[in-house]
């Protein structure tokens, strides 16, 4: 079981770094959502089911929805400007 935890933790790190590197907002948001979901799994491993359920509902649920609506509002969803011409 401990190796699963190592893999998940490594995944978190990769997510954090890749969000820094990528220029595309949509991609970074999707990575963020994945990060939140993995975080909630990690909290299950840390024996905190209260946190896991909350993080799954908030981080991967509502916060992501808010982010995506914001992107829609500012018109970056289609990502015309950021991509390399």
């Amino acid at each position: 079981m401990i190796y699963v935890q190592y893999i998940l933790i490594l995944f978190l790190l990769v997510c954090a770094i890749s969000v820094c590197v990528t220029n595309n907002l949509l991609v970074s948001l999707i990575i963020f959502t994945a990060y939140s979901l993995v975080m909630s799994v990690i909290w299950l491993f840390l024996e905190s089911p209260d946190l896991a359920i909350t993080e799954a509902a908030v981080g991967a649920g509502v916060t992501s929805i808010l982010f995506f609506i914001t992107l829609k509002k500012v018109g970056k969803m289609t990502d015309k400007e950021d991509s390399d011409e």
Binding site: D50, A52, A57, V62
Partner: protein, 299 residues
């Protein structure tokens, strides 16, 4: 350079458009000139800034490394992970677990801790959420006149049938299930993982799904700005009042009249269940409010 050409191109296009509108010629030309000069200024600036930007990035990486190095050096001194003899596992934890059921009646020690022992923090927490909802209302809420509202409803009614079929049929199954699950999590906060905040968020998510599947009008039949306000204010004020009661009786050593019930039953553990319900409804309203304010600037 590419960008300069592009903006020049835009400018030319703008001039061509302008020829079609002869009336606004003079004004528009000036406007376009202004935009062009500003754009070129921007581009020049950003060109100058390119070196600076690289410098900035280097600084960012360096700063990150310094912070991380310092903190990691700190971490190497900290107590080991998972060790039962760590300083954090002290008499406070022991008391929470040993006396938790007797003091609070909650089988979930975390719920007992945050809603009974350390209730003052949690009152602050729900106030933070309330303030955030208010700030979002300040930033995004638009007061609409009745005519505008009517026009919008008509507009909405046009698209009513064109909502995605799969989404609607899926939502018919998923929404009740999510809602029931949210209510379960909410009401069993003192018995199982969960509680007011997570249950409320799940209920809010169900509402959001319902709204995006069935449109605005059908949501408005049972949920509008007035109801949102009433639920939020009454839930929070009930919270604050019950805390006032519990603080004052506690500090003056008066026995609280609220019974703890039989531990393990649904209706037990004193104030925890009502507080969970209050927090849950407030959170559900707030989450749906966030969504609908971001999406349509109204509730």
């Amino acid at each position: 350079m590419n960008k300069i050409f592009k903006s020049l191109n835009d400018f030319v296009n703008g001039v061509q458009d302008e020829k079609e509108n002869v009336h606004l010629k003079h004004k528009n030309k000036k406007h376009h000139e202004k935009v062009l000069t500003e754009r070129i200024e921007d581009i020049v600036e950003s060109g100058e800034n390119k070196g600076f930007n690289k410098f900035y990035n280097v600084i960012a990486i360096l700063l990150a490394c310094v912070i991380i190095a310092c903190m990691i050096y700190t971490v190497s001194f900290l107590p080991s992970f998972g060790d039962p003899t760590n300083p954090a596992n002290n008499e406070v934890v022991q008391a929470y677990i040993e006396n938790g059921i007797r003091d609070t009646g909650a089988v979930n020690f975390v719920a007992g801790m945050i809603l009974n022992y350390r209730a003052f923090d949690t009152l602050g927490e729900s106030t933070v959420l309330f303030i955030a909802a208010t700030t979002v209302i300040i930033l995004l809420f638009k007061h609409k006149t009745k005519e505008e509202e009517k026009a919008e409803q008509l507009e909405e009614a046009k698209y009513e049938d064109k909502h995605d079929l799969i989404l609607r049929h899926g939502a018919l199954i998923v929404v009740p299930a999510t809602l029931v699950f949210g209510v379960y999590v909410l009401f069993n906060g003192h018995l199982s993982p969960g509680g007011g905040f997570s249950g409320g968020t799940i209920m809010g998510a169900a509402l959001i799904l319902y709204n995006s599947a069935f449109g605005d009008n059908s949501t408005k039949t049972f949920f509008n700005y007035g109801i949102h306000k009433v639920i939020k204010i009454s839930a929070l004020s009930f919270y604050a009042l019950s805390q006032l009661y519990s603080f004052i009786t506690g500090a003056n050593l008066i026995e609280s009249i609220i019974p703890n019930g039989i531990a393990g039953n649904l209706i037990s553990s004193g104030l925890i269940l009502p507080l969970n319900i209050c927090v849950g409804f407030e959170v559900a309203c707030t989450m749906f409010g966030f969504y609908s304010l971001f999406d349509r600037e109204e509730i």
